[in-house]
């Protein structure tokens, strides 16, 4: 398979760009079922470095109200894992930035884990974030197959993750680490407090083998640039979904939103 010989796009991105990386999350099939492809294209045109597409789930326990609502609407629109993989194929015709699929375990399990891994890679997916997949489960059951397919599994860490565990996760990670900015579900805030900044610094000082991106609560140019001062960049989710919810012209609004976010960094 050719995909195996080509360098994973996530690895390539982090090799070429060490700072100010902007990754944007949105829910597949939202606001309408077939917006997924168009949104991905517009994000690339607007200059984002990486795209994360959420697989909607009925019971997203790690998500705040904004992403919950988008997931519910996406499911009501008829979104499924099968359809998402088709949409990713379509996206890949024009989009070359790394694509990560993020979703809760159950829909993926029902699709079949190994089948999902290989279909995702075939569609052009570079990595997965499965927030409720236990680290130990990954190591004993899925790591081998994902490594074989050159598919990255991205782990989360949070302010309450112990130093020991951060090191273990760093050792097991390839690509990057997703540093959750606070002890919270997803959702946007307007600024970081001292504790959060201290936590980012602590991570930075650790000199981990993997770069880390900061996510949860990145909503504007201030929070984005604060994240960029400590991590390799940041992930924006809820704030972007809010833009989509309110949007009358998705292409324009995406462009404006991304421009504003980037305007805080030198």
């Amino acid at each position: 398979m050719e995909t195996i010989n080509v360098m994973n796009r996530i690895d390539k991105l982090f090799q070429q760009k060490k700072e100010n990386i902007l990754s944007v999350f949105f829910t597949a099939g939202f606001p309408t079922l077939h917006d997924t492809v168009e949104i991905a294209k517009q994000l690339q045109s607007a200059g984002v470095d990486m795209i994360e597409i959420g697989i909607p789930f009925s019971d997203p326990i790690a998500d705040g109200p904004v992403i919950q609502q988008s997931s519910k609407q996406a499911i009501d629109n008829g979104m499924t894992v099968t359809l998402l993989l088709e949409q990713v194929k379509e996206i890949r015709k024009t989009v070359s930035v790394p694509i990560i699929l993020m979703g809760y375990l159950n829909p993926v399990m029902q699709y079949g884990m190994d089948r999902f891994f290989s279909d995702a890679v075939a569609a052009g997916v570079d990595g997965l974030i499965l927030p409720d997949m236990p680290f130990e489960e990954f190591e004993s059951h899925y790591k081998q197959e994902m490594d074989r397919l050159d598919l990255r599994n991205i782990f989360l860490i949070s302010p309450t993750t112990s130093d020991d565990r951060i090191e273990r996760i760093d050792q097991a990670s390839r690509g990057f680490i997703y540093a959750v900015s606070s002890s919270s579900t997803t959702g946007s805030k307007n600024e970081f407090d001292e504790n959060q900044i201290r936590y980012f610094k602590r991570l930075k000082d650790k000199q981990l083998k993997n770069p880390f991106l900061i996510g949860f609560g990145i909503s504007n140019k201030e929070t984005f640039s604060a994240a960029c001062q400590n991590g390799a960049g940041a992930i924006v989710g809820s704030a972007f979904i809010k833009v989509l919810s309110a949007s009358k012209s998705i292409p324009n609004d995406i462009l404006t939103f991304i421009k504003t976010l980037n305007s805080g960094i030198k």
């Binding site: 789930f57 009925s58 019971d59 997203p60 326990i61 790690a62 998500d63 705040g64 919950q68 519910k72 499911i75 499924t80 894992v81 099968t82 809760y104 375990l105 159950n106 829909p107 993926v108 399990m109 029902q110 699709y111 927030p131 409720d132 997949m133 236990p134 680290f135 130990e136 489960e137 782990f155 989360l156 860490i157 949070s158 309450t160 993750t161 112990s162 565990r165 959750v180 002890s183 919270s184 579900t185």
Partner: protein
């Protein structure tokens, strides 16, 4: 066959701890300490004292003469309905709040369906002087009004869950989110044998006092600790886990779990997980789960708020898969009729959850000397409005 939990937190193919990293420290703290804490003499003394002097244990095992005559078997009722607050739920909340204290937590959260677990949690929080927030589906708040007010009288904040069908599943989602947002000072008292390891095992251990007492009481009353049947309703499965616990390795004791069939198994309005579910992951464990082909969790339905849940605890999934427990089910109507029947034959108005367990007597065949224990998980006070609305009495 091995029915117990393994060191990884699995019962056969089910269980585990499928939680986001944000909850890992909390779950790991619990996992590494629950058995040690529960084993401390001081903990056991305090737990047993409170069960005796506050909850009112041991609860009676009552020989139900008229019911026995009707079904031609020796039917005993394990009277968990006589526990303080009216259901078995308090056995678990007493245990968990003592544990939370020892973990240094100051605040308590819980989810509730019928409101029984919410009331039991609000009660122990009042007893221990701890702040308490209970999440409850908005629909359940309407159909279990008295329990909402009981919680409020006890000083608890009841927060409506307005996502999904606004029932137990959604309340559980909200409680988990609250915990993610408040990981250090808060303990989450889960109300059934569900959730990530170690909850299913911990809750089952706290509820196991039910079968421990049944054994002692049967020895006294029948001269033999072993019944032929133990029957219990299964929502998440905590009262059933407690009633089965000390019999599970005695294969000659037949264990019967009763699920809510709602309007009927094939009606699309049901909560009979072992019939309609497939393996999946929800609320932190791998278990049987009612879901669509795409892995979206299906909204269950039952007239009984306490059984209105799309999964069952992982231990029950294992006991079902291995055939150790036989699962039956009862529809809304069958349960309501059985509730009236128990009221008229024994003078006990059961919770509608419990009435499901009573309803399967009609579906079973007994020998006249069979000893049958029905776990009367709760009393019907909270359900009066539902009885009245149903009206056929």
């Amino acid at each position: 066959m091995i029915y117990t939990i393994d060191e990884r937190g699995y019962y056969g193919n089910f269980g585990g701890a499928y939680i986001p990293e944000m909850l890992y420290p909390n779950i790991e703290e619990l996992r590494s300490r629950y058995l040690d804490i529960m084993g401390e003499g001081d903990f056991q003394n305090q737990f047993n004292q409170l069960l005796r002097n506050y909850v009112g244990r041991p609860t009676p095992l009552f020989y139900a003469h008229r019911l026995s005559e009707r079904y031609q078997a020796k039917i005993y009722l394990k009277r968990e309905d006589l526990c303080h607050t009216g259901a078995h739920k308090i056995n678990n909340t007493i245990g968990q709040i003592l544990l939370a204290k020892r973990l240094g937590k100051q605040k308590i959260i819980a989810e509730t369906g019928a409101g029984q677990h919410g009331v039991a949690t609000a009660t122990v929080c009042a007893l221990m002087g701890m702040d308490c927030i209970v999440y409850m589906g908005q629909l359940d708040m309407e159909r279990q009004r008295p329990n909402v007010e009981r919680m409020r009288i006890l000083g608890t904040t009841v927060v409506p869950a307005t996502s999904g069908n606004m029932t137990l599943k959604d309340a559980t989602n909200e409680a988990m989110r609250h915990w993610i947002n408040n990981p250090t000072d808060t303990h989450y008292i889960i109300g059934s044998v569900v959730g990530p390891h170690p909850y299913p095992d911990m809750v089952a251990r706290f509820q196991s006092v039910i079968s421990e007492e049944i054994r002692n009481q049967l020895s006294e009353q029948e001269g033999n600790p072993y019944p032929d049947y133990v029957i219990a309703c299964v929502g998440g499965g905590s009262n059933a886990a407690g009633a089965f616990y000390h019999f599970v390795n005695d294969e000659h004791v037949q264990l019967i779990g009763v699920e809510a069939a709602g309007l009927g198994i094939d009606s699309g309005e049901s909560a009979a997980t072992t019939v309609l579910g497939k393996p999946g992951v929800l609320h932190g464990s791998k278990t049987l789960l009612m879901q669509t082909e795409d892995g979206q969790v299906v909204e269950p339905y039952s007239i009984s708020a306490g059984l209105d849940y799309p999964g069952i605890g992982p231990w029950h999934a294992h006991l079902f898969e291995t055939g150790r427990v036989k699962f039956l089910n009862a529809t809304d109507d069958e349960a309501m009729q059985a509730g009236i029947e128990l009221s008229r034959t024994e003078g006990i108005i059961p919770a509608i959850e419990t009435a499901h367990a009573v309803a399967v007597l009609k579906k079973m065949e007994f020998d006249p000397d069979d000893v049958v224990v029905i776990n009367v998980s709760g009393r019907g006070d909270k359900d009066l409005e539902t009885y009245i609305r149903w009206g056929k009495y």
